[in-house]
């Protein structure tokens, strides 16, 4: 599968990195030779220096033989023009464009199916807003993903010191709460991801990933001792485009929202556009302002300024002053490993959101979606089990599935099941599988090869 990526920024790099580890042919186009250098040195990709919107460069890069075009530069216009020329040079190439401007995004129906035949339009800000709202709905979780049309949720929770599950072996846990069905998928401890067995225990400070049905989520979270007190008071620090969009979404629900913004003009604008939110003019790291606004009673502080160092410090400060939870926006991927070290749980990144949705759309065939877990050591896939696949028709305990990979959930029609050893997968069921990155090719073989060739 040959994929052409336009734009050698952070989004382009991480998308290319994931695609090359899956042995896809990747070609990257960018105007900046400096930006391409990193690709040549670290990844097995081919690079072309030039404007991605130029039909000459696109032809040179081999658009005619490509399967997919990912236009992910920072410029919407470049992305759109690239898609336009691709459509005229080579009909049938699947196109994905990253579009940030609201005005373009509103004309999605015109852009997508008719004019340029763009298959997918990714708006990182929209993706981010979705992530934020999801997190607000499940305040105890660090990681949330939907599978099987939202019937099944993958949740990552940090185990607090007073949690009742500490020291309990996993198989005892299952006995204890027999009626509640959930599977512990992975445990992230000391920067390492492990797939646990029945004899493993849970420690304080672990990040535990589990899968359960959406309807039972609250009960399962209680087992892990997660503070499920619902969020009422929200504070947004720094309210640019993303902040505004999140604020508008939050206003639609029954939250109480405050906003701190340093730019007076912007404050006026926000006050005009927003209805119930309290817009405060000031600095997010101003202690007296925070005290005045009763920071202790705020359930969630979202730091969204354009400066990530400021976001870090704001989150640390408000946590220190008594705010219950924080969400921090970061852009530099280099900071990701230190986030849990300095005690900040939830992070949000428009780029990461964009990359995740891009990867999801690249996957063709029977894989419907995929999500990377923390540290990128493992991935959760949702796939359709075809009649001829090796996993169909046998009880799970008899399956010869690679170690390091587990079937987490099965969706059968509209009902979803958390499986046990006796579950039998039927044709056209959707299965949710967790696999360590090393085992992904083997899982794909288990599922895909049989699916595709027989």
């Amino acid at each position: 599968m040959k994929i052409i990526i336009i734009g050698a920024g952070e989004v382009g790099f991480h998308t290319a990195q994931r695609l090359t580890t899956e042995n896809k042919e990747v070609v990257v186009i960018d105007k900046q030779p400096e930006a391409l250098k990193r690709f040549v040195e670290l990844l097995d990709v081919q690079t072309f220096c030039g404007s991605g919107s130029s039909p000459r460069i696109l032809e040179e890069a081999g658009i005619a033989g490509a399967d997919m075009l990912l236009a992910v530069t920072d410029s919407d216009e470049t992305n759109l023009v690239a898609c336009m020329f691709t459509e005229s040079i080579s009909v049938g190439v699947r196109k994905l464009a990253r579009i940030r401007d609201e005005d373009y995004f509103h004309f999605k129906p015109e852009l997508a199916p008719t004019m340029l035949k763009i298959e997918t339009i990714i708006n990182p800000e929209n993706e981010l807003t979705k992530t934020v709202l999801n997190s607000l709905a499940v305040p105890g979780a660090e990681h949330i993903n939907d599978f099987a049309d939202g019937n099944i949720k993958l949740i990552g929770v940090r185990i607090e010191k007073e949690s009742p599950v500490i020291g309990v072996r996993l198989h005892e846990l299952r006995k204890k709460f027999g009626s509640l069905r959930f599977i512990i998928a992975a445990i992230f401890r000391n920067d390492r991801l492990t797939i646990p067995f029945g004899n493993d225990t849970i420690n304080a400070g672990d990040l535990v990933y589990f899968v359960c049905e959406t309807t039972q989520l609250k009960k399962v979270l209680k087992i892990f001792g997660s503070r499920t007190a619902p969020v009422h008071n929200i504070l947004i620090v720094g309210c640019g485009n993303i902040g505004m969009k999140i604020a508008q979404e939050i206003e639609k629900q029954s939250y109480h929202l405050r906003i701190i913004e340093a730019n007076r003009e912007r404050c006026r604008f926000l006050a005009e556009k927003l209805n119930s939110a309290i817009v405060l003019h000031g600095d997010g790291t101003d202690k007296t302002l925070l005290e005045e606004e009763n920071i202790r009673d705020i359930d969630m502080v979202i730091s969204l300024t354009g400066n990530e160092e400021v976001n870090f410090l704001t989150s640390l400060l408000v946590k220190n002053m008594g705010a219950k939870r924080t969400m921090t926006r970061i852009n530099k991927f280099a900071y990701m490993p230190i986030i849990s070290d300095i005690g900040l749980g939830n992070i949000i990144s428009p780029r990461l959101s964009a990359i995740n949705s891009i990867i999801q759309h690249v996957r063709r065939g029977k894989i419907l979606s995929s999500v990377s877990l923390k540290g990128e050591e493992a991935e959760v896939l949702e796939a359709v089990a075809l009649e001829t696949s090796g996993i169909v028709g046998t009880p799970l305990k008899n399956l010869n599935f690679p170690t390091g990979a587990i079937i987490l959930a099965v969706a059968h029609g509209k009902t979803s099941i958390i499986p046990d050893g006796d579950t039998v997968i039927e044709p056209n069921d959707r299965v949710v599988i967790l696999s360590t990155r090393k085992n992904i090719p083997r899982v794909e073989r288990e599922l895909m090869v049989k699916l595709e060739y027989f």
């Binding site: 090359t20 042919e25 040195e41 097995d44 990709v45 081919q46």
Partner: protein, 482 residues
Amino acid sequence: MRLYYVIRSVGAIAVCIGLTMLLPLAFSVYYDDGSTQPLVQSMLIVLGIGLPVLLFTRRFDQPYMNHRNAMTIVTIGWIAATLIGALPFFLAGTFGTFTDCVFESISGFSTTGSSVLTDIECVPKGILMWRSLTHWLGGMGIIVLSLAILPFLGLGGMQLYRAEAPGPTPDKLTPRIRDTASALWIIYLVFTLVMIILLMFGGMDLFDSICHTFGTLATGGFSTKNLSIAYYNSAYIDAVITIFMLLAGINFSLHYQLLFGKIKPVFSDPELRFFLLVVAFLILVTAFVLYQTTYPGLSQSFRYAAFQVSSIITTTGYVTADFEIWPFLSQSILLFCMFLGASAGSTGGGMKCMRIMLLLKHIYLELFRIIHPRAVTQLKFGKRLVTEDIIRGVWGFFIMYIGLFLLSSFVLTALGIDLVTSFSAVAACIGNVGPGLGSVGPTNNYAHLPVVAKWMLSICMLLGRLEIYTVIILFVPEFWRK
């Protein structure tokens, strides 16, 4: 430094080379020439060490590779290849000393073709086939071969490829390095098959035509005859070999483009034009000089001049005429060819036309700047912009090349070897050419040189093939600092 990963990669390279011993083995069994046993033994030794290394280091695969690892793997891989190459010679007792075995092996892998064999024709055919095969493997590159065969090297592949490939800016032809490596080997293989058939039409038997094809396409120069190509004394064979030497001296990425029907960009390639122009000019001058002095006929002068100039400029080193007896002008033209070499990205050696062109252009730009001090200039090669760091790299290479040449010549003269022999032997070895002048000329060989000189020249051949940087960087203390 990821030591285990280096060991794993070198083990993989060793296994690849070990498996290729099947070809000479087949010939030695067919001819029943007594070299079967040493070949089987060598293969068992190589696989016996290589396979366990591969198995036991399985968990050391790593997701990416840095420059240091790549250069270490390539250099150590080549040294390992040299030792593997020397094994059959050593076990078969082809040479009296270990030094000679190593010299012949590195001369093979580096596609030099300088031999220490005095009587080639009495050596078993299996061993001769192995000797020519080392050329063929080293020509396109053992790293490129490993990249094409072994998937696990793919992740750091570009670094490895760059450390081995000749020329200042190796091209990646396809998105995945593995596909590039495969494409190069397939083109190489097709040329090989075509040439074997053409040579057999000229009356060579299968064995000789395979050996000479390997020697030609790798721009190596090992023959199976004491007289080299002069043995056949056939204008047809001379012509076939001349054409294929020149083809092998052209950048293989141009062959690749030609394969996809892109004729125009290939013939507008500045390096190709320069290369062909220089070859044509030098052939005409040499032919004219030879017609005036040495040979009676014009066609004869042209035939020898064309073959010999092509042979030396592509750094092959086959001979059809004893250029020892040629006039000095012709000899100095050949010496010039040894330094110039073939195109970047070809199987040939030398400094490469592209580098010389870049240097000439850069010098011209410097002069231009003196005339127009405020002019803004950009160095361009064809339509591509050449950045400052590439030029810096090329100058560095040029200076190190000349430095290595001078240093090695001093060592050889210090051993009591005459000036012409010393200079030409070193030039022929760094440039991976083969025959020099004086007592290492076309009718002689390197057997009579002292042991120290042979080791010195072996080092020159390795440095010449890996284009100096890759090897010499291992001797910079900063490289090993943690």
